[in-house]
Symmetry: C2
Subunit: 345 residues, 2 copies
Amino acid sequence: MVQIPKTPASAPPAPTRSVPTSADVARLAGVSRATVSYVLNNAGAVRISEPTRRRVRDAARELGYVPHAAARSLRAGHSRTVLMPAPAFPVGPLYSQFINELQAALARLDYTVVQYGTSGVHDDEAARAWAELRPVAVLVPGSGLGPRGVDVLKRAGARAVVTLGPEAVEGAHALLMDHDVVGHSAGAHLFDRGRRRIGVIVPREPGLEAFSAPRLAGVRAALRGTDATVTELPLAADEGAAARLAARWRDLGLDAVFTYNDEYAMLLMRALQDEGVRIPEEAAVVGADNLMLGRLLRPRLSTVHLDLPCGRELAGLVDRAVRDPAAAPEAHKALGASVVRRESS
Amino acid sequence: MVQIPKTPASAPPAPTRSVPTSADVARLAGVSRATVSYVLNNAGAVRISEPTRRRVRDAARELGYVPHAAARSLRAGHSRTVLMPAPAFPVGPLYSQFINELQAALARLDYTVVQYGTSGVHDDEAARAWAELRPVAVLVPGSGLGPRGVDVLKRAGARAVVTLGPEAVEGAHALLMDHDVVGHSAGAHLFDRGRRRIGVIVPREPGLEAFSAPRLAGVRAALRGTDATVTELPLAADEGAAARLAARWRDLGLDAVFTYNDEYAMLLMRALQDEGVRIPEEAAVVGADNLMLGRLLRPRLSTVHLDLPCGRELAGLVDRAVRDPAAAPEAHKALGASVVRRESS
DNA sequence: TTGAAAGCGCTACCAG
DNA sequence: CTGGTAGCGCTTTCAA
């Protein structure tokens, strides 16, 4: 229950209401700032009488007092902020869910997750911007952070830097998520199904190279030393481009295609079908991500299912690293891939 | 926790892992902290000799000095942080793009956008958590913020609070995005196409009520006073549920369905087609969001295209509000909807 | 042109 | 049990 006296609209007492501080609370409650701090932080070491506690609490509520995080962490010398760069491109449901799990798990460990919008800033510059916030840990998806960036962050007091990407970075913990395995699974699967002339869709959209390049490389790796060939097929995410590719299909002489993900699979399948190309007879199609839409296509889409690390796991890693920053950086292989065969391959 | 004593200035470049401050830079450069601040902030008011500037810059680089954002904003009395809660559910490409545009636009205006992970915390509690960061502005999608929350934020110094949701909140600016219009467009369209017994899919997934309820209400509103009926059809996002609904379709006696969005449309269309229900003859289908997948379905999916406000626009609103916090909160109607008719209706 | 010092809001010692 | 107070890192007067 709030008991704020309504200020008459005719004469507001202060045009610029200043933000209440703990000193204001102390004054109103008739105690010292120290006492306010003790009460509001439930300090166990000191015992404050119940009437005093009430007075402080009431005063805080009445003023709408909210502690100043910057002042607090300045004083404390550290924060419990875990910083992640906000993804710069539309991100699928898998990754969203991963982030949410992670946030929830870290919140349970009493960390505060903050996604920092770093649009377009590059590497060291970004690292410096992040370092200004003095986060206790930094999680960086992708491969935008180099050893220098890691160093900047650690010198700024980050007790853990974790990269989520294809390769480990000097000085940082790593959750190795090399999408190589995705392409590898797809390639091996298509080979097993007797396909030998395999196309690989590479999205033209910027920002996706970080995933598409390793996926392509994985297909290549899976087929190295066999008689199969791999053909790179750049494709923009629009119908016209897909139709043009489909029109060329028979000339390309391919018998299978790994489409980068399920959405591109849908795009290409539709174009191929409109062109009269039979799936899987003339073109085996394999997507990735195991989205629901794959099950809704006809023929049903074969796909590569990704096993992402669960958020709790990563949260645990972060917490351990924060508690023992001296420990050698761990590198976990954290991306599994398995083919879900349906009707398109 | 181990406290490492400060190494005396006389000691050689010690292995102290403590974070360098501007005082360290000053010491190394042989100047005062004031000079360091002037140099590193390119203060125009004072003129520092070029040799001094060099010394300061070199010292800063050598130490890997990064200013402490908390200390700076504490001193300054304000920050340029714009805070948004991180969305708690998988978010489509439309919204992602909107966020990215917004971040870029605000970055150009020299604001720092931060998405704060508030998983599960409710209303006032969330507002208080945000207020601790003393953001200069807060953008809140959805309808999770009440007048009390707005008040908390403003008392904590937020110069602008903007809600992006169905209705304006007392004291806050509003970008009115009432999804009502989406349902309204769909309903009116189906009525125009001669449909009279109209089903509306309502996703069972939690977190989507904020959108699904207004969309349903919009259909109802569009058909009020006509001889058409509206039937609510709860549906979970899985094939089994869709199949069960499709099996009941003919018993339901409906002739059209608005599916909440394109993804549910795809799910339902597939189930209806598997059941032998002809589209659009026996069931006209209209989705929403105008995703590419709609064009890939057969029959091609009619959909409601959403006109979201562009990020630049919102960034401008935020900036104006920050510069003139006294101005009366504006409320912009910011969601347009138009039907894209294809083959399914 | 540079330096000394105050103080932003907060917490944690140490006295009383 | 409660109050005084130092000081976290930074910017910004005011003096020299």
